[in-house]
Symmetry: C2
Subunit: 226 residues, 2 copies
């Protein structure tokens, strides 16, 4: 069974992994993000890859962590034990503009004024890096969810920004918070908007973890523990 | 400002009202549900109406609650103070069959075996009953959300039923729980699947609460308190 490492400090991503019953450890990436793409679907994949590779690299560079990992890995029967690093990045895209986290309250008001009464896309890019003695793989993908928002009055936007909820979130809103008042409907994975497409991640793990298949995880009958 | 009464014991409905910043009191309905409709969209409206009317009736029949309400109502400037009762009912519909809560684990396995790998509809019916000295209204509506599930193996279904999560939920799954592993995408309001379409409810309150408009609630700038 793999040790899962979440390369993100987002409390919402942590909650989602917990929600689907996974144990994990958090090691946030400290890499400086470099964006070379312009298509939001590619940008989030690029950033998720940088974060996951940064953390996977530092885990395997760290002497103590590496020794522990090798010990676990060698000890585990059939060399099943490995690490699985999950990196993710989320942006909002509206009419060709990429919206990250607002820089200040004016920026949050600007973003919400654009998004209210309209539909936009949320892209989350995910990179999974699995390192084991017998099996190593890496996969990057992006999920898109369309979000339709009800019209918001100026006063509603100012009230909402005043609650502070928008300030640390891509597109200046939290679908899992107060902003649920203003969300009409979505098309796609809700958790992708929250920050991590856990359905797709689970399916990728089912498909790819040869070790997990041996362990019965592919049948959903066991937990992957950290 | 209205006292909000949720005519439901569902912890998930409570969490959703809290999430969008509403204060409320819980008075579960004890009415015996009578279903005369067959269309799921009408069934949930019928049941939500029975629950909300039962609770609104008992609140106004109860001497102490009635006195308190009249006192609040008369004291409140312009007679703004009223009660707002929210009743709701949720069912899952798959190929013409209505799925409520499973009666036992075999029933849960049967439901999940139907839903896995397919798309189904979740209907939540909502009745809002507002009683005030100057303004009284009642509205019933239903929201539909389509849910697409990934294929599940027999072992996954057995594991999931074994966690106990399906047992108190319409259609034998909780989208906000472990079942997120198996949900591919949705079309509609996610919170409608959880049990309460809070976006639509908020918009109805904005539109209908004349008193709220005076209070600025229509601008989203104030909380409605219980």
């Amino acid at each position: 069974m793999d040790k899962i490492i979440l390369a993100s400090q987002s409390p919402r991503r942590r909650e989602l992994l917990t929600q689907i019953g996974l144990d994990y450890q958090v090691i946030p990436s400290t890499v400086e993000e470099v964006i070379t793409e312009t298509d939001p679907k590619l940008v989030v994949q690029e950033l998720s890859r940088q974060k996951a590779e940064d953390v996977a690299g530092s885990v395997l560079r760290d002497r103590i962590m590496r020794e522990q990992w090798e010990k676990d890995t060698v000890e585990a029967e059939n060399g099943r034990e490995g690490i699985l690093v999950i990196g993710a990045d989320t942006v909002v895209s509206y009419q060709g503009q990429i919206l990250g986290k607002p820089v200040d309250t004016d920026d949050a008001v600007r973003m919400l004024s654009m998004l209210q009464g309209n539909a936009h896309s949320v892209f989350t890019g995910v990179t999974l890096i699995r390192r084991g003695l017998k099996e190593t793989w890496q996969v990057t993908f992006a999920e898109e969810t369309r979000v339709h928002m009800y019209p918001m009055t100026e006063a509603e936007i100012r009230w909402y920004v005043g609650t502070g909820e928008p300030m640390d979130k891509a597109g200046a809103y939290g679908i899992q918070g107060l902003c649920a008042r203003f969300v009409e409907k979505i098309e796609g994975d809700y958790n992708n908007v929250v920050g991590l497409p856990v359905g797709k991640i689970w399916q990728e793990l089912k498909k790819r973890c040869r070790s997990s298949q041996k362990e019965g995880i592919a049948d959903g009958t066991e937990r992957i523990r950290a």
